[in-house]
């Protein structure tokens, strides 16, 4: 393991600041919620997997002042039904998204999300391009689609902080594997 130097320490502080400001913003967005349960009763995932309860996620932000630890928000399918119906205009799906953002920065992103991010970085595309799919396109008489410059993709990936989040998560994955 790395011995944390001074500069490492400073960047940790900075990361903490970002997390704190994200959490503060989250608390503010969550505040108008009056716990009516319309979001939850509209949630297709809650119907089959009761561990995802948007109302409870928001409640934990309001009453405990922290992001829920269980990681159930990763089950959100982002269908935006809760968002559509909230009588207080609280953007539930955005809150769940922000919770995911915060926990991703803590190295808690699930493997498939890490995988998606890696393939975006590698190919600029989430569906793996295979020779089979290329062949199919040719058969159908479809044009070759122009590709983005991989160097550009890498640049953007790094400059927007995704690389850093990816590294945090990969390290966490390895740590878990080691345990």
């Amino acid at each position: 393991m790395l011995v944390k130097g001074r500069s490492q320490k400073r960047s940790d502080d900075m990361a903490d600041d970002i997390q704190k400001s994200k959490l503060d913003a989250l608390k503010k967005t969550a505040r108008p919620c009056f716990q009516c349960g319309i979001c939850t009763s509209s949630c297709p995932v809650f119907r089959v997997a009761p561990e995802l309860n948007p109302r409870v996620s928001v409640d934990s932000i309001i009453t405990k002042g922290e992001v829920p630890r269980e990681g159930n928000e990763w089950l959100c399918a982002y269908c935006l039904m809760c968002d559509q119906r909230c009588p207080m205009g609280v953007s539930l799906a955005e809150i769940l998204m922000e919770i995911k953002n915060i926990s991703a920065r803590e190295g808690k992103a699930p493997p498939d999300v890490i995988e998606s991010a890696e393939s975006l970085m590698a190919d600029g595309c989430l569906s793996p391009i295979s020779s089979r799919s290329d062949k199919k396109r040719t058969e159908l008489g479809l044009p070759d689609l122009p590709k983005a410059d991989p160097a550009d993709v890498q640049k953007l990936f790094k400059a927007t902080g995704a690389f850093e989040v990816l590294e945090i998560n990969k390290a966490a994955q390895q740590e878990e594997a080691a345990e």
């Binding site: 009763s41 509209s42 205009g89």
Partner: protein, 854 residues
């Protein structure tokens, strides 16, 4: 009384005669020690000595408690002995005692508007306790400012107007009926206007009414008959108020009555006509669950007990097109030639009881109303369970007319939702429990579940109902219904709701769902400007202390037009409104505002700006193009004067001359260190008083100038203050958007800010030297903070720019950009334009900085 204290008595009043250069003007100044309240901090004798030197002052007399009987008597004696014609009392806040001293001088034969106060307690001794020297200096300045203002005070006539002994009541639901009956019983004539063909409103179509669940029409019916028969009530149905002119005591009202095509007196309500009418129309009473004919009576107990013809549905009342009803009517009561007509009425007071509209279920598509027949509203339920309803009182599913074995009731529909109405309807909880109990009463085997968010059974006897419902086995589940879906074959419904007490999803099947509907406001289209909430309910004059008054004198509100409420509350409020209206009627005369605006015709350029500024519609233009103010409508806010480009509007006791005189005196010494603070009488000035009452200490820099409303602060006052070297200027008003006592004065004041800032920019005055703040009467702490922060600002000396200060008034300069706009020539210097733009951004950036500081 504290004056019995011998020690204080020994401190005694001192009397000094001062000669004045102007024999016409004889001002008396009465500095008050207020025991130790003022005396312990401010050197009152020093203030008195100083007052003697002020121009126009003829007499100065110190008192320990000026407001006490002896103090008041001394003022009266001084007026008589010294021939005083203006009085300045330097003591507490005018909010506290202006009225007291006005009465005092009136009793001594002086016009009450010739007496003003200098506030040296709340604004001086209580907030500068640890700085007696500066406090005394400030007290002197405040006295000098008051004296300068007093010099130009004019006597104001105290007028009153006769009151027409009749009331106009608009809307004949239960509230309008109650208000009418109360006033009629008290002996006043009442003109009761109802839009529908019958009176009774929403209550008339309900089955039972909570909390005792008695029959609605059984208790309302007799009252409706009382209204119809009362000799003092002139009932006009199928009518709406078209226009209102005049003012309190003297409203002239024009009512438009639609043609009924049936002679009310001749019709015996036999119903023969209905048998032959070939046209079906959806029944309004029965919520479109069944049909009525084109000639109809809304329900058997309708008042007036007469049929009417729906002209949109009728085929034609002549024998060629149809005319069957005419043929049939033995009374010859049908009048095909009937026409819409106008009725002119006079009224001294107006009561608005126009009610609300049940919320619109189609606005909430997730609940399926309109798409799924077995989803019904609470009003539809009322008709289905009502013996006089379309099913003769049996509750059946509209899809197949079978009795539902399970019913869900969903609450808060159309309420507590920012997409419909964010407020609570106040009645849907009790309504739901009532519906559930009615179902259980008729069909004990039917399962009933109520889905609620917060069960608000707040009224008298309500909890008993809730208890009873529990005992009847009605299920209560905490969770708001997310969606309703219909099974394609059975037309039964699947209700999706989270049981929030158990974090569990309930996907339950029901044979019928009742939506407990809230209310939608419909207020605001009455032809008198009465302000409304954003959800269209009338705003009361004061939410606690004047709940049935409006900001327009002589206009009162009650019932559902004011806010959603149940029957009992509507009746209570209606009686309250009738009582308030009765006071005006009974007195017979109504005093009008003595400080109302007057237009100086010689200065007026007839631009008409004032008309748009007046929230009361008090300013009008006559045939010759001349603008005049109707005194009885004007509430003296001065917003018109604040924006008058020619300064052609005279605001008694708050004239431009008087305010500028106060500014000048405030800045006569060390102006760069002074804050000229403008505060409106109803919020900010009281906020500054509260800082005093709460002893919230702050620096002594501010010199507060009071006006009725922030709408009065024209751009000129800030300009004048800065020209005289003021360190900072504050414009403080009631909170935006809706706190303003005069409805919109604060909005107009806020609109002047960019012009003031632009002028400051041109004259190199730093942005932070001018502040606009919103301070309520409860925000003493905020006032203290503002004063403290602004005192920091004035510590930095003003840039030496005074000579270059533009003498051009702010408004004239600001016309420039609009001139540039009309210029159609090609722009030769596009760069210059972008330069201005960047400057603007900088300005807004520095503005942001200031706001941050707060």
């Amino acid at each position: 009384m504290t004056t019995d204290d011998p020690k204080e008595r020994s401190a005694g009043p001192s009397q000094v005669e001062v000669s004045t250069t102007d024999p016409e003007l004889r001002i008396g100044v009465f500095p008050c020690k207020c025991g130790k309240n003022i005396g312990a901090v401010v050197d009152i004798d020093d203030v008195a000595e100083y007052a003697k030197t002020l121009p126009g002052v003829a007499h100065v007399q110190v008192n320990v408690y000026t407001c006490a009987d002896p103090g008041q008597r001394e003022i009266q004696q001084a007026i008589a002995e010294h021939g005083l014609n203006r009085v300045v009392v330097a003591s507490c806040s005018p909010t506290m005692h202006e009225d007291t001293f006005r009465k005092t001088v009136k009793a001594a034969g002086l016009n009450p508007y010739l007496c003003i106060m200098a506030n040296i307690r709340e604004h001086v001794s209580w907030v500068h306790q640890h700085n007696p020297e500066e406090a005394t200096q400030k007290a002197k300045d405040l006295v000098a400012m008051a004296v300068a203002k007093a010099a130009t005070l004019q006597p104001q006539p105290e007028l009153d107007v006769p009151v027409t002994q009749a009331a106009l009541v608009v809307g004949a639901g239960v509230a309008g009926m109650q208000a009418s009956l109360d006033l009629a019983e008290a002996g006043f004539k009442v003109h009761l206007i109802e839009k529908q063909p019958t009176i009774g409103g929403i209550m008339a179509i309900l089955d039972k009414v909570f909390p005792q669940n008695d029959c609605s029409i059984c208790i309302l019916g007799p009252k409706m008959v009382d209204v119809a028969k009362h000799p003092n009530i002139n009932l006009i149905t199928m009518a709406e108020v078209e226009s209102v002119s005049g003012y309190v005591g003297n409203f002239e009202v024009r009512v438009k009555q639609r043609a009924r095509y049936v002679d009310i007196d001749a019709c015996t309500s036999c119903g023969d006509c209905v048998e032959v009418c070939p046209v079906d129309v959806p029944s309004r009473t029965d919520q479109s669950l069944t049909w009525q004919k084109a000639i109809q009576i809304p329900f058997p107990q309708a008042v007036p007990s007469s049929y009417f013809v729906d002209p949109d549905a009728c085929l034609g009342m002549d024998l060629i097109r149809c005319g069957k009803c005419i043929d049939r009517c033995e009374q010859e009561a049908i009048v095909p030639s009937d026409q819409d007509k106008y009725i002119d009425l006079d009224a001294g007071v107006i009561i608005l009881a126009t009610g609300f509209k049940p919320a619109e279920p189609s606005k909430i598509p997730r609940l399926g109303w309109g798409r799924y027949p077995n989803v019904i509203t609470s009003l539809e339920f009322e008709r289905l369970i009502n013996a006089a309803g379309p099913t003769g009182g049996s509750l059946v599913r509209p899809s197949d007319l079978t009795k539902p074995k399970s019913v869900a009731i969903a609450q808060c529909v159309g309420s507590r939702d920012i997409n419909t109405r964010s407020g609570c309807s106040n009645f849907c909880c009790a309504e739901s429990v009532k519906c559930a109990l009615l179902i259980k009463e008729h069909y004990p085997d039917t399962e009933v579940s109520i889905f609620y968010q917060d069960l608000r059974m707040h009224g008298k006897y309500f909890e008993d109902q809730y208890q009873k419902a529990r005992e009847e086995g009605i299920k209560f589940i905490r969770g708001r219904v997310g969606e309703i879906q219909q099974y394609p074959k059975t037309k039964s419904l699947r209700v999706s709701v989270e049981d929030t007490t158990h974090n569990k999803l309930l996907l339950e099947d029901f044979e019928m769902v009742i939506l407990s509907m809230g209310a939608e406001g419909v207020s605001g289209n009455f032809p008198i400007p009465i302000s409304c909430t954003s959800d269209s309910f009338y705003i009361e004059s004061h939410p606690k202390l004047r709940p049935v008054d409006t900001s327009s004198a002589g206009v009162f509100i009650c019932g559902g037009a004011e806010s959603p409420k149940d029957i009992r509350d509507s009746v209570i409020q209606a009686s309250a409104a009738a009582g308030r209206a009765g006071i005006i009627l009974q007195k017979g005369r109504y005093p009008i505002e003595a400080l109302s605006a007057k237009i100086k015709q010689d200065l007026c350029s007839r631009c008409g700006t004032c008309v748009s500024r007046c929230p009361y519609g008090a300013i009008s233009q006559d045939g010759t193009g001349k603008f005049t103010v109707m005194g009885a409508l004007c509430q003296a806010c001065g917003t018109c004067a604040g924006d008058c480009p020619k300064d052609a509007i005279y605001m008694p006791n708050f004239t431009t001359e008087q305010i500028e005189a106060q500014i000048k005196i405030a800045l006569q010494e060390d102006p760069g260190n002074k804050i000229v603070a403008f505060a409106c009488a109803f919020c900010s000035y009281r906020g500054s008083d509260l800082a005093g009452v709460s002893r919230m200490q702050h620096p002594t820099n501010a010199r507060i100038i009071r006006s009725m409303c922030s709408g009065r602060y024209s751009t000129k006052f800030a300009q004048k203050a800065f020209e005289l070297g003021a360190g900072a200027v504050l414009y403080s008003g009631c909170h935006l958007p809706s706190d303003c006592h005069f409805q919109t004065g604060n909005h107009w004041m806020a609109k002047r800010e960019p012009r003031i800032r632009a002028w400051m920019k041109r004259n190199n005055i730093e942005d932070e030297r001018f502040r606009i703040e919103w301070v309520t009467a409860g925000e003493g702490k905020k006032w203290q903070n503002i004063m403290t922060e602004m005192a920091e600002v004035v510590k930095t000396p003003r840039q030496q720019i005074v000579p270059s200060v533009s003498k051009k008034p702010i408004d004239e300069k600001s016309k420039r950009p609009s001139k540039a706009k009309t210029d159609t020539r090609p722009k030769t210097k596009p760069k210059a334009k972008s330069k201005t733009k960047s400057r603007d951004t900088k300005k807004s950036a520095s503005k942001r900085k200031v706001t941050k500081k707060k």
